[in-house]
């Protein structure tokens, strides 16, 4: 009998120590959990949630995860969240890199996830001494227990939560609870949240952009290849101007020739003269003296309204015409009625000579290119 008693005591002691870890597990917290509200301002209705959790142990029977919302502040005073009964939407994307929403790297829990919000918290949210009273709970169901591990941080978005934030700015102790399908609580942990005052969770950003106008000329000299009475020559320097402006009024560019002709100091008697400035390009023919200007679009703007439009005098699309210079006034040659991030306009000169124009290598002219914003 005595022996039997010793045996029974030993067996009871062994059984107690075997069962003890299970009881301890019920009292432990989730390894990691957080609840992030999309808006933390007081009285905000309809905030979305981003919930993360990591299990304590695996294998596990966890099939549900609930977020319990207190109806008091963390000090037990005042009022807390309001939860409306409904079926929020659970969404999620594996966030391996942590790039999404500036969040930690998370994985969507395995299973066909559904959510329900309710004001009935009995059996889900812990109660009793030390626990707050609860306003409601959102429960995510459908987790595949067998596939859950305690090495993964899981995360889901909950939209259409039916949640209304507390009306006072203070700390509120929400709680994330894991449970089995019954549901019986397995683990839980507090996830304190601070509710800010009416504008406390947002920063209004103001900025200003200065009006600007940029103008560049790729080079200051352009050479026309040597010409004779059997050819028409066009400058080969590929000199271009680039104009950009953020004014919706756009810009206009002008050209003015110093001499309206190419002059040689060696043979000043036979200049290469420009044509007639009459709103129409002049025909340039080999053997007939003519000097003109041929602007054309290079790289077009990519962020702009409208396109560069050439004045009739300079609207040249072939190799046998050129616009004439106005030596007394600035002559507009292109305009763009709108903003542009950069119009590249090639500026070429074209000439032809008759047989009597004397040979020299110093024929030259000075072109002033002006660009101004429209008014």
């Amino acid at each position: 009998m005595y022996k039997n008693k010793r045996f029974l005591l030993s067996a009871a002691a062994l059984l107690f120590f075997l069962v003890l870890p299970t009881l301890n597990a019920g009292a432990t917290q989730l390894n990691q959990a957080s609840v992030r509200l999309s808006r933390m301002t007081q009285s905000f209705a309809g905030a979305d949630l981003f919930v993360t959790f990591k299990l304590n142990t695996t294998p596990t029977s966890v099939a549900k995860v609930s977020i319990c919302f207190p109806n008091t502040k963390s000090d037990g005073l005042g009022s807390g969240f309001t939860v409306s009964a409904g079926t929020p939407t659970v969404t999620g994307t594996d966030n391996k890199s942590g790039a999404i929403q500036n969040s930690p790297a998370t994985t969507v829990p395995p299973g066909t996830l559904t959510a329900a919000s309710t004001t009935t918290t009995t059996g889900v949210c812990p109660t009793g001494a030390g626990f707050p009273t609860w306003a409601g709970v959102i429960t995510i169901s459908g987790l595949t227990s067998a596939s859950l591990t305690n090495s993964t941080l899981y995360g889901v978005n909950i939209t259409g939560s039916g949640l209304t934030n507390p009306s006072a700015n203070a700390q509120y102790n929400t709680m994330v609870v894991s449970s089995n399908s019954t549901p019986t609580v397995i683990d839980s942990t507090y996830t304190p949240t601070y509710i800010a005052n009416a504008t406390g969770d947002q920063v209004t950003v103001t900025a200003a952009v200065n009006p600007n106008f940029s103008f560049s000329l790729s080079a200051n000299a352009d050479t026309i290849p040597a010409v004779d009475s059997s050819t028409i020559q066009t400058s080969t320097g590929n000199v271009y101007m680039t104009v950009a402006t953020n004014s919706p009024l756009g810009y206009t560019a002008y050209v003015k020739s110093q001499n309206a002709q190419l002059q040689s100091t060696l043979h000043s008697g036979t200049p290469i003269t420009t044509g007639t400035f009459d709103g129409t390009p002049d025909t340039v023919t080999a053997g007939t003296t003519k000097y003109g200007f041929v602007p054309s679009t290079g790289t077009a703007c990519s962020t702009c309204t409208g396109v560069p439009v050439y004045d009739a005098e300079y609207a040249v699309a072939d190799g046998t015409h050129a616009g004439s210079f106005n030596s007394t006034n600035f002559a507009s040659f292109v305009t763009h009625a709108g903003y542009t991030n950069g119009d590249q306009i090639y500026l070429r000169e074209r000439d032809a000579v008759n047989a009597a124009v004397q040979y020299a290598n110093d024929y030259s002219d000075v072109l002033t290119i002006v660009a101004a914003g429209n008014f």
């Binding site: 080079a219 200051n220 100091t265 560069p308 429209n374 008014f375």
Partner: protein, 352 residues
């Protein structure tokens, strides 16, 4: 003798090496010619002052080249070229008395790369000055080396100043010369409107306002008029273009590699865009556009109105529907006629 030959050979070798290594004048010119690259702010400046007073403003600019650039500040006069807000630039003449009132500090400077520079523009308006003065402050290279055998190019950025000298005699008098649509019938939006304003006063005016769109008596849209503050110079016209694009489907500029493609008339090519999130903007029928233009006459805001009607008829869709209706109608007609004929046949048989 040998030493002398070696000496000559060495001298020749050095000379040839220098000749080979030294860049040609054209190459040197090309590599040392950074061009001219400047960013300026602000855009057209509108100043108001009284006779006998001094008004100042600032022109800011940045040399965007990688090397220092000498900059010379100059002055031109401008007027209105055409009716689209383009300035017509002129060199100053002795008649342009305002040239002596305008001073720049500094008038010439070395602009370091990527550093903002400020030129203070001081205008000492004499007591006998009055009304409007329209000038352009120019920023150009201080020293341009002209090259023989080439066209030398002098780049200049100009900033416009519209100066109003209030004498009490200024008259602001603007009226709407015309208000019309680019077409009376559109298949789809956008619809383009032009309003021509005539400034009969003696001072520039920057009008503002709204374009309201109506279907019947119901307002269905509005577009801000002249948000950029484009001005009408005295004794001139100004045409403003307004686009109404709150439609579905909508013609938009065709983009290739993110860039608009102009047609042979320098008009951007367009293509139809079907954004079904804006399907409630489907337009059909007769519309009315009412332009409300407001300008300050010095004492109060003067409103002006004009109205134009236009149609939006998606005629291609209508044509397809019409053809479908015709086909269905013909089908029904054939079917009914067949039934009637069959009925008659039966009737004849029965009579027999």
């Amino acid at each position: 003798m040998k030493r002398r030959v070696w000496g000559i050979a060495a001298t020749l070798a050095v000379a040839v090496s220098i000749g080979l290594l030294a860049p040609s004048p054209r190459a040197a010119a090309a590599s040392s010619d950074p061009g001219f690259n400047i960013l300026t702010s602000p855009l057209p400046m509108k100043l108001t002052t009284q006779p006998g007073k001094t008004v100042t403003t600032e022109v800011r600019f940045k040399n965007l080249n990688n090397t220092p650039q000498g900059i010379k500040v100059g002055l031109l006069r401008f007027g209105a070229a055409g009716e689209d807000g383009q300035p017509d630039l002129f060199d100053l003449t002795p008649k342009d008395a305002f040239a002596s009132w305008v001073h720049f500090e500094p008038a010439e400077l070395i602009a370091q790369p990527n550093v903002w520079n400020t030129v203070k523009v001081t205008i000492n308006v004499p007591k006998d000055a009055g009304l409007g003065y329209y000038m352009a402050v120019t920023l150009s290279p201080a020293n341009l080396q002209t090259q023989k055998g080439a066209a030398s190019l002098r780049g200049t950025a100009a900033q416009l100043i519209l100066l109003n000298v209030e004498t009490g005699k200024e008259q602001r008098n603007v009226n709407i010369a015309s208000f019309k649509t680019s077409r009376g019938l559109y298949e789809y939006l956008p619809a383009t409107f032009t309003v021509k304003l005539r400034n009969n006063g003696n001072i520039f005016v920057s009008p503002s306002g709204d374009l309201f769109l109506y279907k019947g008596k119901k307002q269905i849209g509005d577009v801000n008029f002249n948000p950029a503050g484009g001005a009408v110079l005295p004794k001139s016209n100004r045409v403003y273009t307004i686009t109404w694009d709150q439609g579905f489907p909508l013609y938009k500029n065709k983009l290739v590699d993110g860039k608009t493609i102009p047609d042979k008339h320098a008009v951007p090519k367009q293509q139809l865009s079907w954004d079904f999130s804006k399907a409630n903007n489907f337009r059909f029928g007769r519309y009315t556009a009412k332009i409300l233009v407001v300008y300050d006459n010095g004492s109060y805001d003067v409103p002006m109105e004009a109205t134009v009607n236009f149609w939006v008829l998606p005629w291609k869709i209508m044509l397809v529907l019409l053809v479908l209706l015709l086909i269905i109608g013909l089908g029904i007609f054939s079917f009914v006629r067949g039934l009637i004929n069959r009925g008659r046949g039966h009737g004849r048989g029965y009579r027999r």
